[in-house]
C-alpha cells in the first residue's frame, strides 16, 4: 500500500510540478523508467512467490535503472544507441510480460 500510494503521489507531483527533463537525461529516462517498472513487477511477483525481500528489491531497482541507462549510454557512444535502446525495451518488456503473467496466475488462477 505504501509503494502504491508513493507511486501515485509521485505521479501527481510530477504532473503538478511539470518538470522538464534535462537534456543529458533525455535518452536515459525512458529506459530507466521501463527498467524500474520491470523491477516493480518483479517485486510483486516475488511477493506472491513469497520470496520478496526489501533490500533485494531496492538493489535490483537501482541496478536495473543504472544498468539500463548504462547500456543506452554505451550504445550512444558506439553509435548504436537507438538499436540498443530498442533491445533493452524488448528484453524488459518480455520480462514485464512474464512477471505479469505470473502475477495473474497468482491472483486469478489463470
Amino acid at each position: 500500500m505504501i509503494p502504491a500510494i508513493a507511486l501515485i503521489v509521485g505521479l501527481i507531483i510530477g504532473l503538478v510540478l511539470d518538470p522538464s527533463v534535462p537534456v543529458w537525461m533525455q535518452p536515459y529516462l525512458p529506459i530507466a523508467v521501463i527498467a524500474a517498472l520491470d523491477a516493480v513487477f518483479g517485486a510483486i511477483r516475488a511477493v506472491l512467490d513469497g520470496i520478496f525481500d526489501d533490500k533485494v528489491f531496492v538493489i535490483s531497482f537501482l541496478s536495473n535503472v543504472v544498468v539500463a541507462a548504462l547500456i543506452v549510454f554505451i550504445g550512444d557512444q558506439l553509435g548504436v544507441g537507438s538499436q540498443l535502446s530498442t533491445g533493452v525495451v524488448v528484453v524488459l518488456g518480455i520480462r514485464i510480460f512474464s512477471n505479469v503473467a505470473s502475477i495473474r496466475r497468482h491472483l486469478f488462477h489463470a
Binding site: A6, V47, L48, D49, L107
Partner: protein, 304 residues
C-alpha cells in the same frame, strides 16, 4: 503494483481446474531477480493449491487466489522499516519520472518521434518539396516565356528602329521632319562642286540626317563633280539654283550655314546668294536606289 483491493476479491478461493496450466509457455521463468532463496517460480503455476500459510506477516511460499490478494495487501501496509521507506521513496521517484517522461514526450516535437514517423514526415516533406519544386519550375518557365516574349518585342522594336535609321541613311525611304531649305542662287555659275561638298559637310556636321539636292537624295556614296554650267550629284547634272533640303535641327543647321567663313559667306563671295528657310516640317521624297555591293560583304555577326 500492490493493490489493496482485498475485500472485493472477485475470485473464489477454490482451486481452478487448470486445463492449460502453462499456456504462456516459459513466460514465467525469466526471473533473474531477487529470488535469493531460489524458489521455483513455476511452482506457482502448476499447483493451484492455495497455500494456507497466510498469516499476519509475509511468509515464505507461493500463494494464489485470495491468499495472494491478501498477501499483496499485507505487503503494502505501513511498516517503519528503513527498507520500506526506501521502497516508498523509489516508488515516489518512479512515479515522478513517469510523469516527467510523459510530459516530456508530449512536449517534444521531432526529437522523440519514432523512425517510421520521422520517415513519414520526411516523406511528406519531400513530396511537398517536389510538388513545390515543380510549381517553381512551371512558374519559372512561364516567366522565361514572358521574358522571351518581351525580349522579342523589344528586339523587334529595336530592329525596326535600326531599319528605319538605316533606311533613312541609305536614302531608300522618304523622310520627314523639321529642317531647313537652303537655296543657293548662282547666276554666274560660280558655285563649284567643292563648295557644295563643303556645304554638305557643314550640314552633316550640324546634324543633318537626310539631305537632298535638287531632287537628288544625298547618301554616303554621293559624289560631286563639276560641269561647265553646273555640277553633277552622283552623276546627275543639276543646274542652279541649288535647293538643298536637309532634315535636322533647323537652328543648328542655319547657324552652321551662317558662321563666318562658312557656306553663306563663301557663296556671297562668289556673287551668289544663299537663303535659309527653317521649316518645322519638311519632306524629302527623293529616293536613292541602293546598288548591290560588288566586293564588300558583311562580316557575319558572331552573335547571330
Amino acid at each position: 503494483m500492490p493493490d489493496d483491493s482485498m475485500p472485493d476479491d472477485p475470485m473464489p478461493d477454490d482451486p481452478m481446474p487448470d486445463e492449460l496450466p502453462d499456456a504462456e509457455g516459459p513466460g514465467g521463468d525469466s526471473d533473474t531477480r531477487r529470488d535469493r532463496t531460489d524458489a521455483d517460480p513455476d511452482g506457482a503455476v502448476s499447483p493451484p493449491s492455495s497455500e494456507p500459510g497466510d498469516g499476519e506477516t509475509p511468509v515464505r511460499g507461493s500463494v494464489t487466489g485470495w491468499a495472494a490478494w491478501r498477501r499483496l495487501g499485507l505487503m503494502g501496509r505501513p511498516r517503519a522499516t528503513r527498507a520500506n521507506v526506501i521502497v516508498g521513496l523509489l516508488a515516489l521517484a518512479l512515479g515522478f519520472a513517469i510523469a516527467a517522461q510523459v510530459r516530456q514526450t508530449d512536449l517534444e516535437g521531432l526529437a522523440n518521434l519514432r523512425e517510421e514517423e520521422l520517415v513519414r514526415i520526411l516523406d511528406n516533406v519531400t513530396q511537398e518539396n517536389s510538388r513545390l519544386s515543380g510549381e517553381i519550375r512551371e512558374l519559372e518557365q512561364t516567366r522565361s516565356q514572358l521574358a522571351a516574349g518581351a525580349t522579342s518585342e523589344e528586339a523587334r522594336a529595336a530592329a525596326q528602329a535600326r531599319l528605319d535609321s538605316i533606311q533613312v541613311l541609305s536614302g531608300t525611304v522618304a523622310a520627314t521632319g523639321p529642317g531647313i531649305v537652303l537655296t543657293v542662287t548662282d547666276p554666274e555659275r560660280q558655285v563649284s562642286a567643292a563648295l557644295l561638298l563643303d556645304t554638305l559637310q557643314e550640314l552633316r556636321d550640324a546634324g543633318a540626317e537626310a539631305v537632298e539636292i535638287n531632287g537628288v537624295r544625298v547618301v554616303a556614296s554621293t559624289y560631286f563633280t563639276d560641269l561647265d554650267d553646273g555640277v553633277t550629284v552622283s552623276g546627275q547634272p543639276i543646274r542652279p539654283p541649288y535647293v538643298i533640303r536637309a532634315i535636322g535641327d533647323p537652328p543648328t543647321m542655319a547657324a552652321a550655314m551662317d558662321i563666318p567663313g562658312g557656306v553663306r559667306e563663301s557663296v556671297r563671295r562668289l556673287n551668289a546668294d544663299a537663303t535659309i528657310d527653317q521649316r518645322d516640317s519638311l519632306d524629302i521624297t527623293s529616293l536613292h536606289s541602293p546598288t548591290t555591293p560588288q566586293y564588300a560583304r558583311p562580316v557575319p555577326s558572331p552573335t547571330s
